[in-house]
């Protein structure tokens, strides 16, 4: 095992070489990103040949820093969060060599945007109840799967080329055992994407209707019937992605409230001040907890601790955005715009206080409701008994719906 200083020296040399061969100011953005991937500097904890160097995740920050200092373009991670945070680690863990080689590079560079086809109108918290069917057509390597069903709450579906999809392949089996995980092509003619307007007025999500969508068997991820296991790996990564990115002090929702507080002495009251400072303290402690979790992750894989982070993230976002609307008083009565738009990217701290307050309501629902996350923490971290499951051993087709 090399010393951290040796690794950093090696990384600096690799970055230097990349920058020398592809000077950012004189290189096409995509060409640069592809070269960065090929140099193993995309995600250093990934294996060599797949955009990484097989070293600890903690070194990535150093690479990002060096490249940012050199003015290199990044892959706009905010726009491809589902691909980076959910699809990629799952493909890495369960994919065939061919799948990894074909999919990971365009995923990382952002050439191919990914979306997630998991939730259904009848399968929210109880994801394993999902009813979208995939039926095998043919045998052997040329087999394809024919998919029919409806998915919902799909962000980026209208921009995505690819999707991670969980579908039911065996209705006779108990619900957790009859699912299979696929990598779907969103440009298939059977895919119909429709905007889903939400309480803020805009539509950042979609409903996706799948009608005889055909997926070659080569784009199955994991074994037939293993979909639940694969999907759980994805969801663990999702919670880490939501709760665990590095942030400076007083950033995110608290920054907005603090900004209003500093700018508007006329709004200040002693009661509001104590609530503001309580929120400030909680935000700072949340930031430190994320820092500690990342230090742990640098030496291991994401565990259920990410669920606890997400619980706090949601509560804080809701409390602070609510505080801000209240603090604003009369100005809190006004809202920027109710018209139906399709935002380019979602910023929980964007627009006005009213928008932030309303959008934050989704934080305790999306990516696992806070109620489900508490079950996860109680069962997987604290080892308390599982919820009684009356439908666990029934064939899926016999479960009342």
């Amino acid at each position: 095992m090399s010393l951290p200083e040796d690794i950093r020296r090696d990384l600096a040399a690799r970055v230097e070489k990349l920058l020398a061969s592809y000077p950012p100011e004189a290189t096409d953005r995509l060409e640069f990103l592809r070269a960065r991937f090929d140099a193993g500097l995309a995600w250093v904890h990934f294996p060599e040949g797949l955009g990484g160097l097989g070293i600890a995740r903690g070194f990535q920050q150093y690479v990002e820093q060096l490249l940012a200092e050199a003015g290199a373009p990044d892959n706009e991670p905010r726009k491809i969060g589902i691909g980076l945070g959910m699809a990629a680690p799952t493909i890495l863990a369960f994919g065939t060599e061919e799948q990894k080689q074909e999919l990971l590079r365009p995923l990382w560079t952002g050439e191919e945007v990914w979306c997630q086809l998991f939730s259904e109108p009848g399968a929210g918290s109880d994801l394993a109840a999902l009813a979208t069917r995939a039926v095998r057509d043919g045998d052997g390597p040329d087999a394809t799967w024919v998919v029919n069903g409806q998915k919902v709450w799909t962000s980026s579906a209208h921009k995505a080329q690819r999707a991670i999809l969980v579908a039911r392949t065996d209705p006779e089996a108990p619900k957790h055992k009859g699912m299979t995980y696929f990598l779907a092509d969103m440009t298939d003619p059977g895919v119909d994407v429709r905007p889903l307007r939400q309480l803020t007025g805009e539509a950042e999500f979609n409903e996706v209707f799948l009608s005889d969508v055909r997926i070659p068997d080569a784009y199955r991820l994991g074994e037939v019937g293993e979909g639940w296991k694969v999907a759980n790996a994805t969801l663990m990564n999702e919670r880490v992605a939501i709760g665990g990115h590095a942030a400076p002090r007083e950033s995110g929702m608290i920054a907005k409230v603090a900004e209003t507080w500093r700018a508007r002495p006329d709004l200040r009251t002693p009661g509001m001040h104590d609530r503001l400072m309580a929120g400030w303290v909680e935000s700072e402690v949340f930031r430190l907890t994320g820092m500690r979790l990342r230090q742990k992750l640098a030496v291991g894989a994401p565990g259920p601790e990410g669920s606890a982070m997400k619980l706090t993230f949601a509560r804080l976002a809701q409390d602070l955005s609510g505080l801000e609307v209240e603090l604003l008083g009369e100005d809190g009565l006004r809202y920027s715009d109710w018209s139906m738009t399709r935002p380019e990217q979602v910023d929980f701290t964007g627009r006005d206080a009213g928008y932030r307050y309303l959008r934050a309501k989704g934080n305790s629902i999306e990516g696992g409701t806070s109620e489900i996350l508490r079950n996860i923490v109680a069962e997987r971290v604290l080892g308390l008994p599982s919820e009684p499951r009356v439908d666990k051993d029934l064939p899926w087709k016999d479960i009342p719906r």
């Binding site: 001040h273 104590d274 503001l276 400072m277 909680e282 402690v285 601790e305 079950n375 109680a378 599982s386």
Partner: protein
Amino acid sequence: MNHPVTSDLNLLYTDVEDDLRASVRNLLSSRCPADAVIAMYDGDRSVVAPLWRSLSVDLGLAGLLVPESAGGAGASAREAAVVLEELGRFAAPVPFLTSSVVATTVLGGGDQELLGALASGERTAALAVPLAATPWSFAPTVTGAGDGLSGRVTSVAGALEADVLLVPVAVEGGVEVHAVEAAAADITPVTSLDMTRQVADVSFDGASSRVVVAADAGEAAVHRALLVGAALLASEQVGVAQWCLDTTVTYLKERRQFGRVVGGFQSLKHRLADLYTLVEQARAAARYAAATLAEDDPDQEVAASVAQAYCADVAVKAAEECVQLHGGIGMTWEHPAHLYLKRAKADQIAFGSPGAHRARLGELVDLR
């Protein structure tokens, strides 16, 4: 913002810290039984002296924060924090925080001979300030006019266990810190909410003393000691909270009602999940506060107030949940839950309440 925030302080436990924790826990497991600690509320303090001797001398914890040049171990606030976590976990009635953390910090560059005596465990000291004093607003109530010291300090922690008191004294040109033999002061034990850290009212009436920190350095030394006390108390609070969480989870896995283990009821699972989340966050805040001290990071005042504002309430919440979720048994004298409730509630006031630290933070981060 006021100053840059270092992002690479290690918030995990090192192997050395894990080893230290194991030896402290091992000793406390055999020498600090809950029934002996509960007996302190009925006036039986016989557990204290032998326990403190084992910790301070046998394990050498009294000198943990004292530099090697003065006879100590030269360890950092990170290690002291781990010791405090364990002491919190046992509600241990020993003067580690008051003597080995606060008093040794006051002495700092002062009287090296006394510092050495504290480090060896030969002597035990307490800073004669109210336990509720905050680092930023402390003012001495003792004066040195005429023959000896006079004045009164209320609610002093560690005074009962101390054989020497370190007394901040208002003098012309600043604050001196004087050493007074405990026998020369009038120390009146107070029936305390937390008898495992019993406070005392201390009066001086012409007590003879000697200066151990000079007038130009005394105010800074007291400020520093209270800041370190506040920052590291957070780790004790984490230890208290962790015990409450662990004990409650264990109990709810055994306790059966309605033909089920009660820990399987969702209302209880969710409360414990929330408590786990709070405790993990408190740990991050406490570790950060300790790390900023260890590295002498410029963020240490903010870190200490964040840790106190947060961890104090988490410890109280954990202890309250512990009592409630134990049901009737949690309300008894026999069950140790009340030790932690009383310690947590008293700790909430020690070195400034969460509200006081929030107000202080408002000044530190320009949110007035």
